[in-house]
Amino acid sequence: MTSKAQVGSVSEARGPAPGPGPAPVGVLVVEDDATIRRAVQLALERYGYRVDVAADGLGGLEAFRAGAHDLLILDVMLPELDGIGLCHRIREESPVPVLMMSARGDALDVVAGLEAGADDYVVKPVDTAVMVARIRALLRRATFGPDGPAAGKTGRDRAPDHLLTFGDLTVDTLGMEVRRAGATVSLTPTELRLLLEFAAAPGSVLDRRRLLRDVWDYGWEGDTRVVDLCVLRLRKKIGSGRIETVRGFGYKLVRG
C-alpha cells in the first residue's frame, strides 16, 4: 500500500530543504521502550525517513533543539518529562507537527495530549503502515501552501481576494499568515488548516465528521475529540468568539 515514490513526493513537497538535493524528512521519536524505539526507527527508515530517537522527555527536548525535525512522535508516558509536558514545551518554541502515541488510550491521556498541542494521536500498538499514513497526513498539512498539494483541494478562491477579514482577524490565504488586530498569530499547520477550512465557508456550519475528513484525512474511524480540542486551541489564539459551537452539529466561523 505504500511505495518509495509516494515517500519521495512527500519530501519534495516539504519546501526549501536544507542542503543540496531533496533531503529526507526528519522525524524525532521520543519513546522510553527500547524495543519500540529501535523498531519504529528501523521501520520508518525503511520508508525513507531520517529518524532520530530519544529515550526520555528531557533527552527529547534536547534532541529537538539540536536538530531540525519535520515531525515529532511522542510517547505519552516518558520518564523525566512526560510526553504531554514535552509537547507543551515544544509548542512554546515551534509549530512542528506532533503525533502522540499512547498505550493507555483512555480519554484523559488523549485529551491531555491534544490539549497540549499535539496534532493527532495513535493508540499502541500501531501498525507501521498506519503510522506512516498518519505521518503523511500531518506532513501534508504542514507543507501545504500556495503550491502545496492541499491548496487546490478545497477549491479556495485565491487571487485577488487572498486577504480574508473577519472582524479583527485577517487571514492571508496566499502568504499563509494570520493576523489578529495587526499582530501575527502563530498557528500550527493543523490549526491553520482548520482555520482555512472555516474561512472558506464563513457563517456556515461545518460538522465534526467533515472537518475530521477534510483536515485530518480520517474516515469514520477517526475520533472527533481531535476536532473539538483543535478548535479549542484555535479559539485561544484567534479569540474565543470567532468560532461558535452549534450544538449537535459542529462549528461555524462568525463573519463580523
Partner: protein, 446 residues
C-alpha cells in the same frame, strides 16, 4: 413528583395528621359528651328531687299533692321506680337514681336528701331514655302505704343541648381538618424536597456522574441527613472502586500494549515473503485482537465507557465499515436513510464484530441490511447455538468446536457496546436457517 399521586409521602403524612386529629377529637369529644351528659342528668335529678320534696311537704301539710304531681299506687309506678323504692324499704333510707338502660347508680344525692323529711325520706329517680316516651326524669317518694308521689320532668332540653354539643364538636373537628391537612401537606414539602434531591442525585450517580453528592447541608440531623450521608459514602466508595478499576485497566493496557507495540513493529520488519514471518504476523494479529477485546471488555465492565453522540448517516457508515472489513458481505438498504444520533465508532465496533462473527461461525452469503435505525446482520450457516439464544453471549464460549475458531469475545464486546449506546442487540435464528443479529439504535420508548 406528581403532586396528585395518592401514594405520595405528602398525602400519607397528611392522612396520618388527619387520623391523629380525628382520634384526639374523638377522645376529647367523648369525654366532653360524657361529662355534659352526666351534668345534665344531675341537674335533672336535682330539679326532680326539689319538686318532689316540695310536693312531699305540701302533701304533709295539706294531705293533697300539687296539681302537677301524680299520686299513684305501687302498681301504677314505672317498674324501675318501684324496684328502687322497694330497695329503700329494705335498707332503710337513701336515694337512688336509675337510668332506662337498667344500670343503677346509687349516689349520695345532694341537698335534696339532707333537707328531706327524716320519717320516710326515700326518694327514687329514674331517667327514662327508652322509646316511646323518652327523655323523662321520674321521681317518686312514698308518702303512705302504697301511695307514692310521682314527679315527671322533661329532659329534652338537656338532650337537645347535648346533641348540639356533639354537632359542634364534629363541626370543629372538620374545620380543624380543613386546616391541618393542607398544613401537614405543606409541612412535608421541605422533607419531600430533600428526598427528591437525594433521588435525583442518586440517579445522576447511576447515570455516571460519579462526582454527584447529595450533601448534608442544613442543620437537621435527622434520618434523611443520615441516609444522605450514607448514600454519599456509598457513592464515594463506588467511585474509588471504579477509579481503581479504571486505573488498573489503563495500567494493564499500558503494560500489555507496550511490548505488543514493539512486537508488531518488529514483526513488520521481517521479510514479507517469509513463511515463518507470516506465521508470526498472523498470530500477532490474533494476540493483538484478543488483547484489545479484553481491554475493551474490562473498560465496559468498569462502566468507564461513554457514548459520544453525533448525527450519523447510518447507511453510509455501515456501507463504509463493511467495506473496510474486507470480507465478502452483501450490503442492502444503505442508500437514503436519515441521520441517526449515535456514536459512529461504537456502531463500527459492533458491526465489524457481528460481520466477523458471521463469517467465522456462519456461512456465506452474509448480508447486512439497514432499515431506519436498525442494522441486521444475517448469515446462512447453522445459526446461533441455543445456549447463546437463551443466555446471550458468554465470554470464551464459542459454541461447538466445529463452528470454528475464535475466542468468543466479539459478541460480548458487541453486546457491551450496544448497551453503552442505549441500543438493543438481539440474536435470533431465521426460520429458513442462518443466524440473525439485529442492532436497534432507535431510542427506547420512554
Amino acid at each position: 413528583m406528581n403532586h396528585l399521586n395518592p401514594r405520595a409521602l405528602r398525602w400519607k403524612i397528611a392522612a396520618l395528621a388527619a387520623a391523629a386529629c380525628c382520634a384526639v377529637a374523638a377522645v376529647i369529644g367523648f369525654l366532653v359528651h360524657d361529662a355534659t351528659r352526666e351534668r345534665g342528668l344531675r341537674v335533672g335529678t336535682d330539679r326532680t328531687l326539689t319538686r318532689l320534696i316540695a310536693a312531699e311537704r305540701e302533701y304533709d301539710r295539706t294531705g293533697k299533692a300539687p296539681a302537677d304531681i301524680d299520686v299513684r299506687s305501687r302498681a301504677e309506678l314505672p317498674k324501675p321506680l318501684a324496684r328502687d323504692l322497694a330497695t329503700f324499704k329494705a335498707t332503710g333510707t337513701g336515694t337512688a337514681t336509675g337510668t332506662g338502660t337498667g344500670t343503677e347508680t346509687g349516689t349520695e344525692a345532694g341537698t335534696g336528701t339532707e333537707t328531706g323529711p327524716p320519717d320516710t325520706g326515700a326518694y327514687a329517680t329514674w331517667y327514662d331514655a327508652d322509646p316511646p316516651n323518652w327523655f323523662w326524669m321520674w321521681g317518686a317518694v312514698a308518702v303512705a302505704d302504697d301511695r307514692f308521689l310521682v314527679v315527671r320532668d322533661d329532659m329534652s332540653t338537656e338532650v337537645r343541648s347535648l346533641q348540639l354539643l356533639d354537632r359542634s364538636i364534629v363541626k370543629s373537628v372538620l374545620a380543624a381538618l380543613l386546616f391541618v391537612v393542607p398544613l401537614a401537606a405543606l409541612a412535608t414539602e421541605p422533607i419531600n424536597r430533600r428526598l427528591r434531591h437525594g433521588a435525583r442525585t442518586a440517579r445522576r450517580i447511576a447515570d455516571g456522574d460519579l462526582d454527584a453528592r447529595i450533601g448534608t447541608a442544613g442543620r437537621a440531623r435527622d434520618e434523611i441527613t443520615e441516609m444522605a450521608s450514607a448514600v454519599d459514602d456509598m457513592a464515594a466508595a463506588l467511585q474509588r472502586k471504579l477509579e481503581n478499576e479504571r486505573r488498573f485497566t489503563a495500567d494493564v493496557a499500558h503494560e500489555l500494549r507496550t511490548p505488543l507495540m514493539g512486537l508488531v513493529t518488529a514483526a513488520g520488519l521481517l521479510p514479507e515473503d517469509d513463511e515463518a514471518a507470516g506465521l508470526v504476523r498472523d498470530r500477532l494479529r490474533a494476540l493483538n485482537a484478543l488483547v484489545e477485546d479484553l481491554l475493551e471488555i474490562s473498560r465496559l465492565d468498569a462502566g468507564a465507557e461513554r457514548a459520544r453522540l453525533d448525527p450519523v448517516p447510518l447507511g453510509e457508515l455501515v456501507a463504509d465499515v463493511v467495506r473496510r472489513t474486507g470480507t465478502d458481505t452483501r450490503v442492502g438498504g444503505v442508500d437514503g436513510g436519515g441521520l441517526v444520533e449515535t456514536d459512529p465508532r461504537r456502531v463500527e465496533r459492533i458491526v465489524v464484530n457481528l460481520v466477523t462473527n458471521a463469517h467465522r461461525h456462519g456461512a456465506a452469503p452474509v448480508e447486512v441490511t439497514v432499515t431506519g435505525a436498525r442494522i441486521t446482520v444475517r448469515d446462512h450457516g447453522p445459526g446461533f447455538p441455543p445456549d447463546l439464544l437463551e443466555r446471550g453471549p458468554q465470554r470464551f464460549r464459542t459454541g461447538a468446536s466445529e463452528r470454528g475458531r475464535g475466542h468468543g469475545l466479539g459478541l460480548t464486546v458487541a453486546q457491551g457496546q450496544s448497551e453503552v449506546l442505549g441500543a438493543r442487540l438481539t440474536f435470533a435464528n431465521a426460520p429458513d436457517g442462518g443466524a440473525v443479529a439485529t442492532l436497534d439504535l432507535a431510542p427506547r420508548p420512554a
